[in-house]
Symmetry: C2
Subunit: 336 residues, 2 copies
């Protein structure tokens, strides 16, 4: 069953006014669950010793590796700054202060306007942004898996009436709560998709449609690992034992909800960062403050960014991600 | 004792590199206290039944009443949007969903570059943004007072070692924790300042220097109320019993730390909003979505925005507000 079959009535655009959206019992319930989701996130990460910091919303440079979306320029006293597309550069820098950090970070990505109808993109959204000093990929995957399990368990136990009001069957989470998430290599995901007749490029990120196809076949969240070099940003570390392969991962939800999180072990070596920037078409001269820090040493790390609205959508069983935001901004759609 | 006497060694600009800032034990301690401050804020507001929502970071229009700072334009698919200078318009709208809401909201205000040396301005900062449906000014003042008391009490009890490391004497909070905050009318604040030789305009907001002078004389936080119409944004409600006077307030810290929060009872009547916009030089046509909502009815309310970095600065006893941010952006200063 494909996602568009699952959500046949899914709206093509934000279908309601701000008043209808905010006064709907559905919206209220989704936002209450989202608030609980973030409370549980903090409870879990504080319990592991993570320190929460407030992230910047703009800077001289930001994450370039965001799958074809455009960055937003702002004029900061005559300097061209960018709104954050992700907090990755600041997460690595923050490890100079603390071994384990996280942000609840706002991001802006101008996705192509045609994605306004795909149910899965907001132009403005938030991420649970986690970074673990001296961490390996396995550490980041473990934290991501345990975080999702903790959050879902918390909501299933504490908000049964809210899930029922939304028509979200608690049994949907039985597999998730029963055991570990699976892991699939990127190459195997590509083979699966080609076998299903989906034309997935083996040298690229799994495309959105491909992610939804894989997701729709699953009954619990699962990881895709070992993306090919060239498919991700310069900060995803290359596997020294397998050149051309990145020590990274995506976490996909089941039931066709698609991607929840992206993460990796990070590159932190100055020379390799410069090389990877050049390989990915980035001009190192733009990355002044970040490369200055890296030249004098930043910690090795691993981490991930998990979409707050996407996780909310999955937990609450909504057809579109805009339903998980009080003031959703769909690509190209003028709204508050 | 004036603030510049209190902080004779206060730096004229961000004096350290990002590495020095993030690896300093002082910065680490301040950021740990800030994290505790936000945890206590959530504990307190959740306990009162407030729902936390994620705020937008940009929109077609934002708060115009921000004391001479400039707004930042962004191009949102060909539409000219603004980064949020405050969340006020969205707070009023959010009351359509819940009776009591709050955000931890990022804001950007391009303050004049000369404020980079005044210790009290960041171009990017966060506010604890609270709004109470059907609330009166007294309700908002009570929540602000109780919130500050709760947060300070929590930090004094749970982080004594951190305060000691910073050289912040716990006795500084004895008066605050002992009893209610005082209240002073704007007209009396003006008279005080004129008596002290400070040329305060009686028809205007208390200027920054004036706030610091009043603040330096105090031993616990205090409110200034009843600002004259014309000194604040269109959303501060006019006192029906005293035309020309606003039902609003500022909360000032003691010891010269200056303003912590601004709040008011809100205007919500469509016709009065349009009139007040015109009186304050704003073009109502710019406020489409907001006025559309107001025409069909938004709740009466009162609320406030409290600066996270300013509250952190006060609690931790720092000489400058930039010391309360991991990646501070000073007006006009190029930095990460």
């Amino acid at each position: 069953m494909t996602p568009s079959e699952r959500f046949p009535g899914a709206p093509a655009q934000l279908p309601v006014t701000t008043r209808e959206h905010l006064t709907s019992e559905t919206t209220r319930t989704v936002l209450r669950i989202q608030s609980r989701l973030l409370t549980a996130t903090r409870e879990f990460l504080y319990g592991l010793g993570f320190v929460e910091l407030l992230p910047p919303i703009m800077g001289p440079v930001t994450d370039p590796g965001t799958r074809g979306s455009k960055q937003v320029d702002v004029d900061f006293y005559g300097h061209r700054y960018k709104l954050m597309t992700s907090a990755i550069l600041y997460k690595q820098a923050s490890l100079l202060a603390f071994d384990k950090i996280f942000y609840i970070a706002p991001n802006v990505r101008l996705e192509p306007t045609e994605t306004a109808v795909t149910h899965r993109h907001l132009a403005e959204f938030h991420q649970i942004d986690v970074e673990i000093g001296d961490g390996k990929r396995a550490d980041a995957m473990r934290v991501a898996e345990d975080l999702v399990s903790f959050v879902v368990d918390s909501i299933v136990r504490k908000m049964p009436a809210e899930l029922e009001l939304l028509g979200r069957d608690r049994d949907a989470f039985a597999e998730l709560l029963r055991g570990p998430f699976g892991t699939m290599k990127h190459a195997d995901a590509v083979a699966d998709l080609l076998g299903l007749g989906h034309p997935q490029n083996p040298d690229a990120e799994i495309d959105w449609r491909g992610e939804e196809i894989l997701s729709a076949k699953a009954s619990r969240p699962f990881f895709v690992v070992d993306y090919p070099k060239g498919s991700r940003g310069f900060y995803d570390r290359e596997d020294e034992a397998h050149p051309g392969r990145l020590t990274n991962f995506d976490l996909l939800a089941p039931e066709g909800y698609g991607e929840l999180a992206s993460g990796s072990e990070r590159e932190f070596d100055y020379a390799k960062l410069v090389t990877r920037m050049r390989e990915t078409g980035e001009n190192p001269a733009k990355y002044g403050w970040y490369l200055d820090l890296a030249r004098d040493g930043i910690p090795a790390s691993a981490g991930f960014g998990m979409g707050v609205e996407r996780l909310t959508r999955y937990v609450t069983g909504r057809s579109a991600v805009w339903q998980a935001s009080a003031f959703p901004k769909l690509p190209g759609v003028r709204s508050p």
